[in-house]
Symmetry: C2
Subunit: 417 residues, 2 copies
């Protein structure tokens, strides 16, 4: 894409009330626009990153047998009353609305009830199970404070999967397979080495532990204790000896960190399926409870977490797997030879399937370089009268920051095309 055709511009300043680094950077670089606290518009660059994250998650959920659907934002009251999650005194972060006739509705903050209720038509026999269904969708939480940019949204994008099994053993097998898929997601996003599976409180759901996936970060809201050698951790919430003894963590190895929760998975036992009266018939014709699990990843939160982690004092430094473009190509000066060569290279790269942000604007070189650094595209290529003279181009990796003169052919090799 030509930069001159992109409507966003980098901004000198983020809104004064925006205190989080992720939102400041993403707003200044033109990835998001703040509609109100905790509610962000995705601009063209930001939408590309969001879609890349979604696609990685989608591929990994499909790989463990997840089937994608799209549930609704508007939610009926009755199914949430059956599980006692309608009352604001019980669940305090609902957004609610009303039909024209006065009927109260909820705005989806989680989808256990509607998923289970919907599946009653589709999981009646042991032959229909096990089954995993997921969606990637906008969710709504009426947060009192929303000051962490994309890390805690009132309107946010989430992947939520729900699994249904015939027995506890079958459930646990699925649960572990999804946990492995989560590690693959974080690995592909470039945060595998700083993201740990941590035991957390099962909350109202279950007597068992739930699991969080925590990305170490000083801006995180959570405090976790990590046993690095075990590659595991535990949330501060449950750190007492009695509970620790039920885990395979060595207490002596634990180190304290701040962390961002970038995923959580819950065993739901048969709480929701029982409450909504959904059972399966086994091989002998008997009704049996359905054992469920739920698996969340905050997609927009991950975008914020990546912006926190992959950044330096000049701006964003996207990992290649989610970057809005692979190459930032800048032409310097208005020499015909420069423009011709830059145009040619742009065409060649795009023709080879490499996505390029081609900075064809008539602005100072310094402005182009500063914008390139702020936007954080992984590979920067500059064509100037000086590089043309040597039959080369200037190549820099955003992350390492060292420029070198290479040929167009060498560039293609570096990009693997």
């Amino acid at each position: 894409m030509k930069y001159s055709k992109l409507f966003t511009k980098t901004l000198k300043n983020a809104p004064a009330d925006e205190v989080s680094k992720n939102a400041q950077l993403l707003i200044r670089a033109g990835f998001v626009h703040k509609e109100m606290a905790g509610v962000y518009v995705y601009l063209p660059l930001g939408l590309r990153v969001l879609d890349n994250i979604k696609q990685i998650i989608r591929e990994e959920m499909n790989a463990v047998g997840g089937q994608e659907v799209q549930m609704t934002v508007l939610q009926p009251k009755d199914i949430f009353e059956k599980t006692d999650r309608w009352d604001d005194a019980k669940v305090d972060n609902w957004f609610k609305t009303k039909l024209a006739n006065g009927t109260e509705l909820g705005m989806g903050l989680t989808h256990e009830e509607p998923i289970v209720d919907m599946l009653k038509d589709y999981m009646t026999s042991y032959r229909d199970l096990p089954l995993s269904v997921y969606q990637i969708q906008g969710k709504f939480r009426n947060e009192l404070r929303a000051k962490s940019g994309l890390l805690r949204g009132r309107e946010f994008v989430m992947k939520d999967m729900y699994s249904f099994a015939r027995s506890q053993a079958e459930h646990e097998e699925i649960y572990e397979r999804v946990a492995e898929a989560y590690h693959r997601v974080y690995g592909r996003l470039g945060i595998g080495d700083i993201t740990y599976r941590t035991y957390a409180d099962g909350g109202i759901f279950t007597k068992r532990f739930s699991d969080e996936f925590q990305m170490l970060s000083e801006v995180g809201e959570d405090t976790v204790f990590i046993d690095e050698s075990a590659g595991l951790g535990v949330n501060q919430e449950i750190i007492d000896d009695a509970r620790l003894s039920a885990t395979n963590i060595n207490k002596d190895n634990l180190k304290e960190f701040r962390a961002i929760e970038v995923g959580n998975i819950f065993p739901l036992e048969s709480k929701y399926t029982d409450a909504l009266g959904v059972y399966y018939t086994d091989e002998t014709g008997n009704q049996q409870p359905i054992i469920a699990g739920c698996y969340g990843i905050g997609v927009s939160r991950l975008m914020g977490a990546l912006a926190e982690h992959f950044a330096d004092d000049k701006g964003l430094v996207w990992p290649e797997s989610v970057a809005p473009f692979r190459v930032y190509l800048a032409c310097i000066g208005s020499d015909d030879t420069v423009l011709t060569e830059a145009d040619r290279l742009y065409q060649e790269l795009e023709g080879s399937g490499v996505e390029v942000l081609y900075d064809d604007r008539d602005v100072r070189p310094g402005e182009k370089f500063a914008d390139a650094d702020l936007i954080g595209v992984p590979h920067r290529v500059v064509i100037s009268p000086k590089t043309i003279e040597q039959g080369k181009l200037e190549y820099k990796i955003r992350q390492s920051g060292e420029a070198e003169l290479i040929s167009a052919k060498e560039l293609l090799q570096k990009l693997g095309v």
Copy 2:
């Protein structure tokens, strides 16, 4: 995809309160699930169709220079007060909600105000214009009645684009270019021959006409008069001699039809940009009004309209451009030779990039055939002991319904792979 891995099953009956043909078919075939009146879940088959329609629209909007963003559902009150569209007495189909602190919010039913307000940072100079921005997103309308299935939703998917120009002439050029893109969308969806551009009332927006795109259909809510030779029409709302005389329609040619509105485009003049105080600075340093247009296509409504139009007494008959799969492959019987050949063909087709719904279920042939017809995948292939004996397979086009025996090689030729 293997049918045995798909969690949906075809249903004998749609819910008793579902009176529209599109929803009945889409529910019975497992494309959507009714959450409440006018609010539908997209199941795996339905999500594929919806995504295919979105992608066609996206490509055509990109081709006329549209830049994709994603606006928010939650909307602040103040920007809608500036255009006098907040008050329920003025706009009667808002869903509204509240922040925990009591602040009233709207749930996006249209996005002129937030788009214009957002763009104030990005269109300040004549150099920034013209500019077209679009999104494909969930929208909410608090309809009193919602009995037409996907044709009139309370929660629905819409593509809305907004254009901004430096002059009326520049606006009109964009407006006509988008109108042509709309015709291309309907052409690719297979309804080009029954979809007409029709003049409609500009409503509160403008003294000029707006334009609708109406697909002829007996279940449509609108009455339109079409001049087939001119390829144009006019909505009943504005059919009086004085107004007709301002158009290029020959009144004598007009024929009356029922129709479904599958798109509408509006000249907005500078109503919203003026109200929100957004202007551009021209070459001479003077502030000038920005002339806007808006361009809607109901994506989920189109899915419903296609289901109404492309159906027969056996079920859905999807056009190839949006079908959830291209090929429905059924194996009959449990002979090893049948299963081996069906597996082989499934692998070969998928390997060639042909999306196949492979009916590997252990059910009666009649059930497979009935489900194939109900689901409406364009090409049906059957492998049975009889076809194996002849070294052939049975091939049927869903639309024409005539089966023939052909070789696997001939099948690949027919599919163009």
